[in-house]
């Protein structure tokens, strides 16, 4: 007798594809936020599957801090070309030039927080009524309560106490003019699920996820890549190490880990044995115990 069981990856994929199709059906002008990181790559890959053999019926949006690892942008362009999707770029540099945001100064300066303004501006400019993101509930405790369909008011704010209950697989995307939604198809995935899926589907990823020799320095116990965008202190000498990145964000606040994992299989072994969460390398989360919750209320990813 045939057994009708799905593996957990098949079930998670079926759920994500269902969510992506709901977005296309319920919204007029959706967009997929694409950072070039593994989570948004996985979401884009499933968007391709969800609408195949048609093209993805919405553009990909990259909020570009200007402080990228060079590998990320090259990867982004080739990935999107192969996907046959359109790309919209929201530029943090432009927001700075237009005086909408003021750049942080000093050794710990980061453009991470500035992204929120650029993101909301891009959403407004293109009249996007839904922005699909690759956030996962296991990443951070404020995200553990996020909905698949997350309502944002006309200032782009998230109100954690007034979220719509989400039952069964029925998603309520109804909204008033000016409001928009954030939708998170891989809410139920963990870091491990993402890597396993990348392995299973043979998805291409930026090379900096794999172990490589890199010029780095140590700040507050975090391994940072040397770049033109970070001022190093005299006490922070450049050294060469074999490292890889567990997340890809703005180069100024994304730390690396020492690693020999130069294949996806080895990364999976490493993740299985890991002793710290992947956001442990993100200095933007360390600013206070509720740093993520505060940024999300203002309209962060």
């Amino acid at each position: 007798m045939q057994s009708y069981n799905l593996t957990h990856l098949q079930e998670l994929e079926a759920e994500a594809i269902y969510v992506l199709r709901e977005v296309a059906a319920q919204f007029e002008r959706p967009a997929l936020l694409f950072s070039g990181g593994k989570d948004s790559i996985v979401v884009a890959h499933m968007a391709r599957k969800a609408f195949w053999p048609a093209r993805i019926p919405f553009p990909l949006v990259h909020v570009d801090t200007g402080h990228n690892f060079p590998e990320t942008i090259a990867f982004r362009d080739s990935f999107i070309e192969k996907l046959g999707a359109t790309l919209v770029v929201g530029s943090v540099q432009q927001s700075i030039d237009e005086g909408k945001v003021v750049e942080e100064k000093g050794y710990n300066a980061s453009r991470n927080a500035l992204q929120t303004v650029t993101l909301l501006d891009t959403i407004e400019e293109h009249k996007f009524d839904c922005a699909i993101g690759g956030a996962r509930r296991d990443e951070e405790k404020a995200r553990a309560k996020e909905r698949f369909f997350s309502h944002r008011d006309d200032f782009g704010q998230w109100d954690p106490k007034n979220q719509r209950p989400e039952l069964w697989n029925i998603f309520n995307g109804k909204k008033h003019v000016g409001e928009h939604f954030r939708v998170f198809p891989i809410s139920n995935w963990t870091e491990m699920d993402v890597w396993q899926y990348i392995l299973q589907e043979k998805i291409e990823i930026p090379s900096i996820y794999l172990a490589h020799e890199r010029d780095v320095f140590i700040r507050d116990g975090v391994i940072m890549s040397t770049t033109d965008f970070i001022q190093q202190r005299d006490t922070e000498p450049t050294v060469s190490m074999k490292v890889r990145f567990r997340t890809i964000g703005d180069a100024t606040c994304t730390g690396a880990v020492e690693s020999d994992a130069d294949t996806i299989e080895k990364i999976i072994e490493e993740v299985a044995a890991a002793r710290t969460t992947e956001r442990g390398t993100r200095s933007d989360d360390k600013r206070s115990e509720a740093a993520m919750e505060d940024r999300k209320k203002q309209g962060y990813f």
């Binding site: 957990h8 079926a14 199709r21 709901e22 059906a25 106490k161 039952l167």
Partner: protein
């Protein structure tokens, strides 16, 4: 864990419910900790936090405390989702608070669960909240219920205490529609029978909680009998290569579909055959709930979102007048004779509340017939009439085609969760 074995794992979704001091957060913390799903930085953070608050042991409950408002008040105010995995299964926990005012969260968490863990304090036995949690698990059609009799360490690990509580729970559950029930005596704080078998209760010969979670049979939790394919989205590539391609995208809500199957499209009643089941990775020989696929049919029929593809000899009900068990989720009370937007499978419609037949006292299961006002967290049997026929099955037969939500047309908020009787 080797890389390939991970590709064979199953997914189990469960919800946890308990009263305020039943030790629910401690239990989840214990499951995460003993299954080694806690990272060093998370553990250090709560260790530090426990010390700061002057607590003697590391408070595992802190692991599941989410938002700042909750940390300040020391309570959980919404459904929070947690994840962990063992070599056999990946688990999604819908962690819902147990206070009466949060029935709506419990309903939300329960709606997608395969299994419900209900915590009972061994010192107090079955209390009102236990009845409420059991009733909601049964109402939401959760296939498996596990009662964890917690704090056994505080009753000297007494078999008698456990057996008495078990008898009470069995008697109560017999009045409900719960198919598969288990009882486990545990101490979440000390770790007895959670992941590791207790050395303090040699009289107990059953499974540990973790063993149950890893081995309970979930293959039959989805309906694989009645073919139901709500059309979610129509795929028309309009490219040279796929010029005349029309694919119907959706997630199978019930049954098994195969190419060549004779099918009927509702509500039109037109018939055709399944030509292919397409995915980007290639065409499939069969597809079943809850897979997301794309069907193509032999004939060119006008089909759009909201239609349902079924088998001619096994059709869903097609009705405008339905009775539902309704859980009210909003602070604004339900308006008698009020009109609401509804979402049911991939359909949008409107409905009017025709009659409140009775409310259910969720602590005693008694019917309340003289008070017809339905407020937040209340559950009532209600008759509604919809603007167009619903294509549905009874909720007990199919959770996907038997459920719908009510939406306030002014605020767009989801205000009601309904299960069709």
């Amino acid at each position: 864990m080797d890389t390939n074995s991970y590709l064979d794992m199953e997914l189990l979704r469960f919800s946890t419910a308990g009263s305020v001091d039943d030790g629910k957060s401690t239990l989840i913390g214990r499951l995460l900790y003993d299954s080694k799903s806690i990272f060093a930085d998370q553990y250090e953070a709560i260790e530090e936090s426990s010390k700061r608050k002057g607590e003697e042991n590391v408070n595992l409950a802190l692991l599941t405390d989410g938002l700042r408002a909750e940390r300040e008040q020391g309570i959980t105010i919404d459904v929070a989702y947690r994840y962990f995995a063992t070599p056999k299964r990946k688990f999604i926990i819908a962690d819902t608070p147990g206070h009466i005012q949060y029935t709506r969260n419990m309903v939300t968490g329960a709606s997608t669960s395969n299994l419900s863990i209900i915590l009972v304090d061994a010192r107090h036995g079955m209390v009102e909240q236990t009845c409420r949690h059991t009733f909601i698990s049964s109402l939401l059609g959760i296939p498996h219920v596990v009662f964890c009799i917690n704090k056994m360490d505080l009753v000297d690990y007494s078999e008698e205490v456990f057996e008495k509580i078990k008898d009470d729970l069995e008697a109560f559950s017999s009045k409900l529609n719960v198919k598969d029930i288990h009882f486990v005596p545990i101490s979440a704080l000390k770790g007895d029978n959670v992941v590791n078998k207790s050395e303090n209760m040699d009289w107990y010969h059953g499974s540990t909680l973790m063993y149950l979670l890893e081995n309970i049979h979930i293959g039959s939790d989805y309906n694989h009998i009645d073919c139901r394919f709500p059309v979610q989205y129509v795929i028309r590539p309009q490219s040279d290569e796929y010029h005349d391609y029309r694919g119907y995208a959706g997630r199978i809500a019930g049954g098994v579909f195969k190419p060549g199957d004779e099918v009927m499209v509702l509500p039109s009643g037109l018939t055709s055959k399944v030509k292919s089941i397409d995915t980007m990775a290639g065409s499939l020989e069969e597809a079943f709930a809850p897979m997301s696929v794309t069907l193509t049919l032999e004939d060119d029929i006008d089909i759009s979102r909201g239609d349902m593809i079924v088998r001619e000899n096994n059709k869903p009900e097609v009705e405008q007048d339905v009775d539902v068990m309704l859980c009210w989720l909003n602070e604004k009370k339900m308006v008698p004779r009020g009109k609401y937007a509804i979402k049911h499978t991939s359909n949008d419609a409107r409905c009017v509340i025709k009659e409140v037949r009775y409310k259910v006292d969720i602590n005693t299961l008694h019917r309340i017939e003289d008070d017809k006002e339905v407020g937040m967290n209340e559950i009532a049997r209600v008759s509604i009439r919809t603007t167009k026929p619903l294509l549905y099955d009874n909720y007990s037969r199919n959770r996907f085609t038997g459920s719908l939500i009510l939406i306030d047309e002014g605020t767009n908020e989801t205000v009601g969760a309904a299960m069709i009787i």
